[in-house]
């Protein structure tokens, strides 16, 4: 008998970590590696990117001036999506944000454009190899193995979306099934016919599919799906109620990755399923107080400022993600990589201050999700009245709930928000089916504030 053909040795197959060496690397060693990479990256962009050379020269900054991690945070100018969009608009498709010859750009994707104009993202072939790795760390921690097969409820357009997850599934050697072109019913039929074990979708689309399956009299708990994995919007590790809803609907374990299309699929899920770990092999990050620009201490809420080592065709250094996170370096799962419990807690651009209290999107979402009479369909409307921010919660009650119960339910939600967040929000029940449905990113925030009170990209 010939020797069996296998992707992994039996010992590797039993490994708890995708890469124990890197995932549990002592902080001191990780930081030394970060400094080395940051210095090399600074030299690379200075040599090859007209944009960064100009930015560095304006500050009389040379890569050799970066002697410590603190130097990098302090000296390298912050960048923002708007910088790159402007340059790309001046000279499409990439402007002088690009560092590599055009022949080395092998894949083009774009951001969703949900905050305005899409940002073009060029990948080199090597970038596509590396960007999937964060997913693979998360897949392995979640229990997914090479014998699993992936169903992508994704349309494979130019939107970056789940392309990186595809690269990650390929890295692990898994079978990939495309759901491109299928409508919701088609996805359900494909899953029944092709028997994948992993569903990849946005979290709200997993719930949308559950709603459609119910209409088709299909019990998703009886399908082949063992795992679901999500990104693109607050998911199961940010919203415990959503975790419960997805797990119950699919009879599977849901997972979550935090990604930013133009930066990286940067933070795979923790096996404790309560947050994500920053992939510190691919990305460097720190937290900044968005109001003062000072570094936020461990455990404090701050804006996640990110540098990617692996997007080498269009590097982003000290990039303002506008995601608010609570960074910690302690986790009993054994990983030393920074953890964001609750994933992203809110956005600097969507954070509203109502009567002196900062209100975060996920805090409101978590409270809504805990109430059984509230369906997964709701939106938060931001308005400005007499110079004050106002947030209105619009939700669909569960369809079985009598209309006479809607107003008392809205009052109970308002009271609950008041008790938990110490702020009174207006809560309005909307007829079931009255709020819009989305296939990819669900728009939870409707910002009606005057343009001058929003970031330029959101206008």
């Amino acid at each position: 008998m010939p020797a069996p053909i296998s992707l992994l040795t039996p010992r590797a197959r039993k490994a708890k970590f995708w890469n124990k060496l890197t995932e549990t690397m002592p902080r001191k060693e990780l930081d030394a590696l970060h400094l080395h990479k940051l210095q090399k990256l600074a030299a690379y962009v200075y040599d090859y990117s007209p944009f960064y050379r100009r930015r560095f020269d304006e500050r009389k900054l040379k890569p050799r001036h970066i002697a410590t991690i603190a130097d990098f945070k302090r000296l390298v100018p912050l960048t923002d999506k708007q910088d790159f969009i402007q340059l790309q608009q001046q000279r499409p498709p990439y402007g002088d944000t690009i560092t590599l010859p055009f022949e080395m750009v092998q894949h083009h994707v774009e951001t969703s454009g949900s905050t305005g104009i899409p940002l073009a993202v060029p990948y080199s072939a090597y970038d596509t190899e590396r960007v999937g790795e964060s997913w693979t760390y998360g897949f392995w921690a979640h229990g997914i193995r090479p014998e699993d097969s992936f169903y992508f409820a994704f349309n494979w357009g130019n939107f970056a979306g789940f392309w990186s997850a595809y690269f990650g599934a390929r890295r692990m050697g898994c079978r990939v099934i495309s759901g491109g072109g299928a409508d919701s019913q088609g996805h359900i039929k494909n899953i029944l016919r092709l028997k994948p074990t992993v569903l990849i979708s946005t979290p709200t689309f997993a719930l949308r599919l559950a709603e459609v399956a119910k209409q088709m009299s299909v019990d998703l708990r009886d399908t082949s799906i063992k795992f679901t994995y999500h990104a693109g919007e607050p998911g199961p590790f940010a919203l415990p109620a959503m975790k419960r809803q997805i797990d119950e609907a699919w009879g599977a374990d849901s997972g979550e990755l935090l990604g930013i299309a133009e930066i990286e699929a940067l933070a795979p899920g923790c096996p404790h399923r309560d947050g994500v770990h920053l992939n510190e092999m691919n990305v460097f990050g720190w937290s900044m107080n968005p109001e003062t620009g000072e570094e936020a201490a461990e455990g404090e809420i701050g804006e996640n400022v990110v540098t990617s080592y692996t997007y080498s065709a269009q590097p982003l250094l000290n990039y303002r993600s506008h995601d608010l996170v609570r960074r910690t370096y302690r986790c009993t799962c054994g990983r030393t990589w920074a953890k964001f419990p609750g994933v992203v807690l809110g956005r600097t651009d969507f954070m509203v201050t109502v009567r002196g209290t900062n209100v975060y999107q996920t805090a409101v979402e978590n409270l809504l999700g805990e109430m059984k009479e509230v369906s997964p369909f709701y939106q938060l409307v931001l308005e400005q009245i007499e110079s004050n921010d106002r947030m209105v919660v619009e939700f669909e009650p569960e369809s079985a709930l009598a209309e006479s119960e809607w107003a008392p339910l809205a009052k109970r939600i308002g009271d609950r928000i008041h008790a938990a967040l110490h702020v009174r929000l207006d809560v309005i029940a909307v007829k079931p089916g009255g709020l819009p449905r989305y296939d990819l990113k669900t728009k939870r925030i409707i910002d009606k504030r005057p343009k001058e009170f929003r970031r330029a990209l959101d206008r």
Partner: protein, 81 residues
């Protein structure tokens, strides 16, 4: 095999692949080797050894005899007299 030994082997593999890349004019072979080299570079990266941000930058291919300089490498202790 220790981490340092794995790093040394991977560096050696990169140097061997590069020799073929430099020696051939066949575009197919050159591009296949480039792809292989990316993966070798990535394997080194994920052993905590990063010589350059990209494998095709000058100085990325380190001589196989060079000592690894990853962050875990400890400087040799001076012998006490």
């Amino acid at each position: 095999m220790t981490r340092d030994q794995m790093i040394a082997k991977l560096r050696q593999a990169r140097a061997l692949a590069d020799a073929v890349y430099q020696a051939t004019d066949l575009p197919q072979i050159q591009l296949i080797i480039r792809h292989a080299d990316q993966n070798l570079h990535w394997a080194l990266w994920n052993l905590g050894q990063m010589d350059e941000i990209r494998p095709d930058l000058p100085g990325s291919i380190v001589k196989s005899g060079s000592k690894p300089k990853h962050a875990a490498s400890k400087p040799a202790r001076k012998k006490r007299k």
